[in-house]
Symmetry: C2
């Protein structure tokens, strides 16, 4: 199964180690189309290969459309993650939203009510 | 025309005065369905009238569907705003995304590339 993993990039990268851990775990269940989300220097790498914002968006939307399931880490508020969830819901994709209740921000009403299977995410480094 | 105004609620309310100013300006062009987004105590008010997260989501999505145009203030990263933009784009609604370039966060690639008419937002209080 193709899995679309979504997590904050420009909204904040404090949890990038957690994202990398989640990508590794998800790879047990299928192909993670967006494994770069767990890469420390994702933005530099995208710039190095000449990806424009338009390229990044179009590639993400194409992967999202192809995915059989969407997994999002939503603790760090992110416009991009929200956008991807909105598109995924419109396409009626199954969505799993992961949230750490001890994070700095409250979860949006929309994310809370979507009745996604929410799980407390354990940080691999025990932070 | 019915206008859906979207801005951060749980992602952070630092710009609430700006949101109120934008709602006032938008009211010159039509009916702002979501004027509460510019209200200081929006969460308390929603709780006082007994709105659950599910009620809030369903009401927002119904208003979004009804709106003839969507205006979003995207400077403060917000899962909810992103989600609403994703749903709006899926419904092919016209979207105007407003962003202050002097904000703390970079704008997501998705928001940048959507070729929305982006405008520098002037804070009414000159901050």
């Amino acid at each position: 199964m193709d899995i679309f993993f979504s997590a904050s990039i420009r909204g904040g990268r404090d949890d990038v180690d957690l994202y990398a851990d989640l990508v590794t775990r998800l790879e047990q269940y299928g192909t993670v189309l967006t494994e770069h989300v767990g890469t420390e220097d994702v933005e530099t790498e995208q710039a190095d290969v000449g990806l424009t914002d338009g390229d990044i968006h179009d590639q993400d939307v194409a992967w999202l459309r192809r995915a059989g399931a969407v997994v999002a880490e939503v603790t760090t508020p992110s416009l991009g993650v929200g956008y991807e969830l909105g598109r995924a819901v419109a396409w009626e994709k199954p969505v799993l939203a992961l949230y750490r209740p001890d994070g700095e921000h409250e979860l949006s009403a929309g994310a809370r009510q979507r009745r996604c299977r929410r799980r407390r995410v354990r940080n691999a480094r025990g932070r």
